[in-house]
């Protein structure tokens, strides 16, 4: 089982929504489409499902060309950001609806709905109507509807975006379990890098209708092929600074901080990307670099502290574990883990990990 997009392109009027895209998704994988709003995640999913036709290019499923085939004939299911259920059906009827249309026997329907309801903790509310449920339960019902019918392709379009924080965390932890032992391809769109890391599988980073990079989630995260891909896969955004390399010495252009590198590349100017959590108020790793900063903003979120500071002409973002209360204008020392620096050339392509 595989899903393949071949040179798929989508234009609406003069606007290009999806630039020519090639992508192959294998069976039993979770594939994450990671990108900001309007990156083209939803459009791409609708093309995969057959809800929308590409302007050019082909979609192949199991070595069969399914371009333009109606969605009813494809065995897909989809979960949306909004909680989409039939408003005057009970939870049971909602979950059973895809089975009823395909003519599954009532005994089997009962058994399958029961099983999936249990998996999604809906067993106690099968007789309720959607608007008697909380948002989390409504989305669980929608998920159950998608899971009950053994689709070849399950598409989830930011399913957790409309839930409040606690419910999101709860459901997010359950999601990987739901897709275990299923003979299908899962595609999951999200704007949040942390969600991609939690789900694992493969990740495609998207920006402005282009797939920037596709590969195993951890590889995509650790070895971004370009600055754009690294930016998409970093929240809060990655710090970018221009550097100069001479021999095994590197230094920022805007101050005189220097460090040694094992990089085997030509001398010259480069850009370095540093993820916020690699700049901390404490030393982490073997090769740390001290940087003086003047605090711009300091915010505490959960058990993490986010400190925005200036050094030279640049604004930096640091993310430390633990709670560090800082006042605006405070001078402080922070530490950068040079082992985690990501180097890009002048064209913003990855050169190598330091």
């Amino acid at each position: 089982m595989s899903l393949e997009l071949k040179n798929v392109e989508k234009k609406i009027g003069l606007d290009t929504h999806i630039y020519s895209t090639n992508l192959k998704l294998e069976k039993n994988t979770i594939n994450i489409l990671l990108g900001s709003t309007l990156a083209g995640k939803t459009t791409l999913m609708q093309i995969m499902a057959g809800l929308d036709k590409p302007t050019s290019g082909e979609i192949w499923f199991n070595n069969e060309n399914v371009t333009g085939m109606k969605v009813q004939k494809r065995n897909v299911s989809m979960v949306y950001q909004q909680f989409i259920n039939y408003p005057n059906f009970t939870v049971y009827d909602n979950i059973a609806s895809p089975l009823k249309i395909t003519g599954v026997s009532s005994d089997e329907t009962k058994q399958r709905v029961g099983k999936v309801a249990e998996l999604l903790k809906l067993s106690g509310m099968l007789n309720k109507k959607p608007n008697e449920l909380s948002g989390g339960q409504q989305q669980r019902t929608a998920l159950a509807r998608a899971l009950v019918k053994d689709s070849d392709l399950i598409l989830l379009d930011e399913p957790l975006a409309n839930l409040d924080f606690k419910l999101r965390e709860e459901l997010r932890e359950e999601l990987p379990k739901l897709f275990e032992n299923r003979d299908c391809i899962v595609v999951y769109a999200t704007t949040e890098p942390s969600e991609a890391l939690l789900l694992g599988g493969n990740t495609a980073t998207l920006q402005e209708g282009k797939i920037i990079q596709y590969g195993k989630t951890l590889d995509t995260y650790n070895k971004p092929n370009s600055l754009v891909s690294a930016q998409v896969f970093s929240d809060p955004p990655m710090n970018i600074a221009k550097i100069k390399k001479l021999g095994d010495q590197c230094s920022f252009l805007q101050n005189d901080i220097q460090w040694k590198t094992k990089l085997n590349i030509k001398d010259g100017e480069y850009k370095v990307g540093i993820r916020p959590h690699n700049i901390t108020t404490y030393k982490e790793g073997n090769n740390t670099l001290e940087i003086k900063g003047k605090v711009l903003i300091s915010e505490i979120s959960g058990s993490e502290s986010l400190i925005h500071f200036t050094n030279g002409n640049l604004n930096w973002v640091s993310l430390s574990n633990g709670i560090f209360q800082k006042n605006v204008g405070d001078e402080m020392n922070l530490y950068m883990n040079t082992d985690e620096f990501v180097y890009f050339d002048q064209n913003e392509r990855l050169v190598s990990n330091g």
Binding site: Q46, A49, L51, V71, Q72, V76, S77, M78, Y80, Q81, Q82, I84, Y86, P87, N88, F89, S97, P98, I101, T102, K129, N131
Partner: protein, 288 residues
């Protein structure tokens, strides 16, 4: 928590109270005053108790006009609601067609009621009106000023022309508020067009349709101007709906007592039907 007591807040309620008193309570109480007394000139009144109410409730004339009124309202609701939904379903959802359709649809609603009556009167005249003349030329024996069936047909046609747009606009708004994802989800399930209509569109339009039915019920139940200009209640009393009959009694015959009693009964019928209908719809809403 200690709440501070400050009776001065009542002063803020006074303007609203005065306003409501002038435009609702005082006129209504005047009618109540007439309904229980015999009214002579020079502010001379005599107490009559519930006599006028009994008289109206037992009067065949009232029963007849009430019957006509219910029949008329039932017919126009039965035509306008399904027709309005059907038109709303076929209206374009995007592009230049949307504003064009919306403007065309709202045109009848913008025409003053007596003009609508006058327009249709001339339009339907059997000798010179386009509708009347054409029908007669086609071999139908059509004369709305003399034949009861034709008078009803014309009145209903006029009301459908005038007011279906309101149902269309409300239904269209209801339809537009359904997120596209619902249609996609139904498409993925392989639901038929009819299933999409009954399982998604109708339930989602329920609230807006409740409002549409309530508005159309109230307006049609109190209809006066258009049939007054079109048929004047005729031929005979065939299209004398409640309000036309009421005005005849109050201003034509100057029977102020019975007319006041009749208008109170009229008022309570409208109130009761609206209340029952609304409660039923909203109770279902809570259940689902």
């Amino acid at each position: 928590m200690n709440k501070t007591v400050n009776q001065k807040a009542w002063f803020f309620v006074i303007p609203v109270f005065v306003l409501v008193a002038f435009n609702a309570i005082i006129p209504l109480m005047t009618v109540v005053n007439y309904a229980f007394q015999e009214t002579f000139g020079n502010n001379v009144f005599m107490w009559e108790g519930t006599r006028w109410f009994k008289q109206i409730m037992l009067s065949e004339r009232f029963h007849a006009s009430l019957g006509r009124q219910f029949l008329f309202t039932f017919i126009i609701l039965f035509i306008q609601i399904p027709l309005g939904i059907a038109i709303a379903l076929t209206m374009p959802k995007e592009g230049i067609g949307v504003p064009v359709c919306l403007v065309l649809m709202s045109m009848p609603l913008l025409i003053p009621w007596n003009v609508v009556g006058a327009m249709w009167n001339i339009f339907a005249l059997p000798d010179i009106g386009f509708l009347g003349h054409s029908l007669n030329a086609l071999g139908f024996d059509y004369n709305f000023t003399q034949q009861i069936g034709d008078a009803w047909f014309t009145t209903i046609l006029m009301d459908v022309w005038h007011w279906t747009s309101l149902v269309v606009l409300l239904s269209y708004a209801g339809l537009r508020s359904i997120q596209p994802a619902y249609y996609q989800a139904a498409e993925i399930d392989g639901a038929s067009r009819w299933a999409i209509f009954t399982k998604i569109e109708l339930p989602k339009m329920k609230k807006v349709l409740t409002i549409a039915i309530l508005l159309r019920f109230m307006d049609s139940f109190m209809i006066y101007t258009e049939p007054f200009v079109l048929t004047g209640g005729g031929p005979g009393n065939a299209t004398a709906f409640l309000s036309i009959d009421l005005v005849k009694m109050a201003l034509g015959q100057f029977d102020l007592g019975p007319a006041a009693a009749m208008s109170l009964i009229y008022f309570f019928i409208v109130l009761l039907v609206c209340w029952v209908f609304y409660t039923l719809m909203m109770r279902n809403e809570e259940k689902s």
